[in-house]
């Protein structure tokens, strides 16, 4: 394509001659007799080169030319002028002009100058194109970095030795700035690579792999993550690194567990509920007839029966609630003796009913503990009721007793020791007793009580130790911190 040239000169004769010459050189030539006129033309014309006689004596003309240059900096100016104003022109335009030619214009000089200008223009265009490319590239990279950072997954890039070479923001937030560390160390606190590592698999076959893992964050939190891996290749197609994306699905899994166990529980409970309702019916019947016949003994029995049933139903509902609502512990400071009293108040009636002696010893001084009173109480009641059941089902001994001994362990722990001389447990029962729905009590147990009690104690940062011997009795030692455990951040 031909280049567009605009010639600015008052001397129309000369310009015509130049035009003819340049057209023959395949330029697209346009003429203007003044800089003012040229100014009006440049927008539509958009010339690449302007060939101008600045007409030095006319300052307006010079100003207009300079205006054109500043408006269209890309246009290359070639100034031609009489030798006596040559220096003046150079002074005026300095480096704003691409070249200066003396009048009369020699064709060879003009050709060379135009050729140089042509080259220059091509070069500039190339530079422009490249710099645009670089800019786009920069933008894209920034975009990728941003995506990389903002993706709601943990992203790591790892080399063949599972060393982490890059991580995104979320990863840094939950796992720290651990560039150069081993993936298995950061995610799983292991000293050796994991078996069935998806990253290793991707290094091997170049394909995407998916696993579900349990990882531990720097704050000690356990997360269920779903991981995907993808190979990163160099130009030769060799896999140099592998990117691993891990999505945190802990909540989904928790919800799922919750729903499954709830569904399961409701199923296994409906039978128990029917039995309890029948028992409650019985209590109500006793109450009705007791009142009608004015039989205080029967009315008393009725109250006892209803009380027992309501307790059983209450417990079951609490069990259900525990499952339907994953609650956070609500810590309160409470005086130890007061807490113990509220626990024994619940258990005492059923112990007395079965002729079991319930002995309680507490530390002499007043002690405060920080627990979730409702849940802690219900856990302790569960342990004690378990002891009551163990005693009441035991027919081999004449007298039964339960000892609840509370003592301080070190400066920061309080210990609840429950000893009974009931049935005792064999090894299997001992090992399984904290699992869901394990019940050795036939239709009386839901299999939930100790499971939940265990859960509550653990939530309080406590531990449970069990010793038991068949026919002799059991000893539970429940130890919890006196104050709310502070999470290590």
């Amino acid at each position: 394509m031909s280049r567009t040239i605009l010639i600015i000169d008052q001397d129309m004769e000369l310009t015509e001659a130049l035009a003819v010459y340049l057209e023959r050189r395949r330029f697209d030539v346009h003429l203007a007799d003044s800089a003012d006129m040229a100014l009006k033309m440049i927008n539509d014309l958009d010339p690449e080169i302007i060939l101008a006689d600045p007409n030095i004596p006319d300052p307006d003309n010079i100003a207009a030319l300079q205006q054109i240059k500043s408006l269209k900096p890309k246009i290359q100016f070639i100034i031609y002028t009489l030798p006596d104003t040559f220096e003046k022109a150079m002074e005026l335009f300095q480096s704003k002009a691409f070249d200066y030619i003396k009048k009369p214009v020699s064709s060879i000089e003009l050709d060379l100058s135009l050729k140089k200008a042509g080259k220059w223009i091509a070069l500039e265009k190339k530079i422009e194109r490249n710099s645009k490319k670089i800019k786009d590239l920069k933008n894209a990279q920034a975009l990728f970095q941003q995506l990389f950072d903002e993706v709601p997954c943990y992203i790591t890039v790892q080399d063949k030795n599972f060393r982490i070479t890059a991580t995104n923001r979320l990863f840094k937030k939950d796992f720290g700035h651990e560039i150069g560390e081993f993936c298995y160390k950061i995610y799983k606190h292991r000293t050796t690579p994991c078996t069935d590592c998806p990253v290793a698999a991707t290094f091997k076959d170049g394909r995407r792999h998916q696993t579900e893992e349990v990882v531990t964050s720097k704050s000690g939190e356990q997360y269920h993550v779903l991981t995907w891996t993808a190979a990163i290749r160099d130009e030769a197609g060799q896999i140099t690194q592998v990117m691993e994306m891990a999505t945190n699905i802990t909540q989904i899994r928790q919800l799922q567990d919750h729903l499954t166990s709830l569904g399961l529980m409701l199923g296994s409970m409906s039978h128990g509920i029917k039995g309890m309702l029948t028992g409650l019916d019985g209590g109500i019947y006793l109450l009705e007839t007791g009142i009608n016949r004015q039989d205080p003994k029967r009315t008393h029995r009725a109250f006892h029966q209803i009380h027992v049933m309501v307790e059983r139903i209450r417990k079951m509902i609490l069990d259900i609630l525990y499952f339907t609502k994953s609650r956070e512990l609500e810590y309160r400071e409470i005086e130890l003796k007061k807490m113990i009293r509220s626990i024994t108040d619940i258990v005492q009636p059923s112990a007395s009913h079965h002729n079991i002696e319930l002995k309680v010893t507490t530390p002499p001084a007043s002690v405060c503990i920080e627990v979730d009173p409702d849940w802690f109480r219900s856990a302790m009641v569960n342990f004690l009721e378990n002891a009551v059941d163990a005693c009441s089902s035991d027919t081999t001994k004449d007298k039964h007793h339960i000892l609840l001994n509370i003592f301080l362990k070190g400066t920061d722990h309080v210990c609840f020791e429950i000893t009974d001389n009931g049935l005792g447990m064999d090894r299997e029962t001992r090992e399984k007793m904290f699992t869901l729905f394990f019940s050795s009590k036939g239709s009386k147990g839901t299999g939930l009580g100790l499971f939940i009690a265990n859960h509550v104690i653990r939530q309080h940062g406590g531990t449970i130790a069990v010793e038991s011997e068949v026919k002799t009795g059991s000893r539970f030692e429940i130890s919890i911190p006196r104050t709310r455990p502070i999470k290590i951040l």
Partner: protein
């Protein structure tokens, strides 16, 4: 007798009573129980999307999902598994009856245990398609005895002690007899041998005289002695009976009368070359109606 039990389940309440019997058997007879669940039917060709049998949803299939289903089954039967020593869980994708038969060929269990038709579980229409005909297809083709519990009422027994063997004198019935006899000997059961004389064919115009019917009954009685009793050597705890009527009705009635906790019978497909092998549909009807578990044995068992 039962060392390996394959319990094929939809892991829904429709199979709960079958589960009760399957796990009870495993515990009682110290057997290994394999809980087998066909988790979905491929929806299109060989695509990775399957229809979950439990929910009816389409799900993408991968190992993760497989494990999830296994875990779910584990949880579903948690309290039963807790009491069972020897168990495993397997899942597969495909048409349930085909997959059950496939794993049965691999595992060679002593018995397949399954629930019957799902009946009126309403909203799970697809389940009916799956389970309903599944037990029929499995019973028809399995190479081992198939125990089906269709009615919840049939699941409250616990162990076998009183067995009814219903025969149509077919070849499969001979195999069923061998199995039933071995079972009653090993588990020390009472044994009731029974034949129902089919009088439905007489109904139309030529109703036979009672003399004729009773002749047939006596003949069948002789056949029972000849075919079975003669092979029982010194075994004494048996009774035998021939009743006339509609065969499946008579067998269900007889089992109820005897408080049977197990019925063993042949599962003959219709239109076999044996002319008396009409019990195929009879077995299906008995399975659907009986008050106790039913073990059916087809022609291919033991071959």
């Amino acid at each position: 007798m039962f060392k390996k039990i394959l319990f094929a389940t939809s892991a829904t309440e429709a199979c709960d009573h079958a589960a009760r019997v399957a796990f009870d058997m495993a515990q009682r007879y110290n057997a290994h129980i394999d809980v087998f669940h066909v988790l979905g039917i491929p929806s299109r060709g060989y695509s990775q999307v399957v229809v979950d049998v439990k929910t009816g949803d389409e799900v993408a299939l991968d190992d993760n999902y497989r494990d999830l289903v296994k875990e779910e089954i584990r949880t579903y039967y948690d309290h039963q598994i807790a009491k069972t020593k020897n168990w495993s869980i397997d899942v597969a994708i495909g048409l349930p009856h085909r997959e059950i038969l496939r794993i049965a060929r691999l595992m060679k269990p002593d018995m397949i245990v399954m629930g019957g038709s799902t009946g009126a579980s309403g909203s799970y229409a697809h389940k009916k398609i799956v389970t309903g005909s599944t037990f029929q297809r499995v019973a028809k083709a399995a190479h081992c005895p198939v125990l089906v519990i269709n009615r919840p009422a049939g699941s409250f027994w616990g162990g076998f002690s009183n067995v009814v063997f219903g025969t149509d004198f077919s070849n499969a019935a001979d195999t069923a007899f061998e199995f039933a006899f071995k079972l009653v000997k090993e588990l020390n059961c009472d044994f009731h041998i029974f034949h129902a004389l089919d009088i439905t064919g007489f109904q139309m115009n030529n109703l036979h005289t009672q003399d004729y019917i009773e002749d047939q009954i006596q003949k069948a009685g002789r056949q029972l002695r000849f075919k079975y009793i003669s092979k029982m050597e010194n075994f004494k705890d048996y009774a035998m009976e021939v009743w006339e009527g509609i065969p499946f009705v008579e067998i269900v009635k007889y089992a109820r009368e005897k408080h049977a906790d197990l019925i063993v019978m042949a599962y003959n497909t219709k239109k076999t070359d044996e002319k008396d092998a009409s019990i195929g549909s009879v077995a299906e009807q008995v399975i659907l109606r009986a008050n106790c578990p039913v073990i059916s044995i087809n022609r291919s068992v033991g071959k």
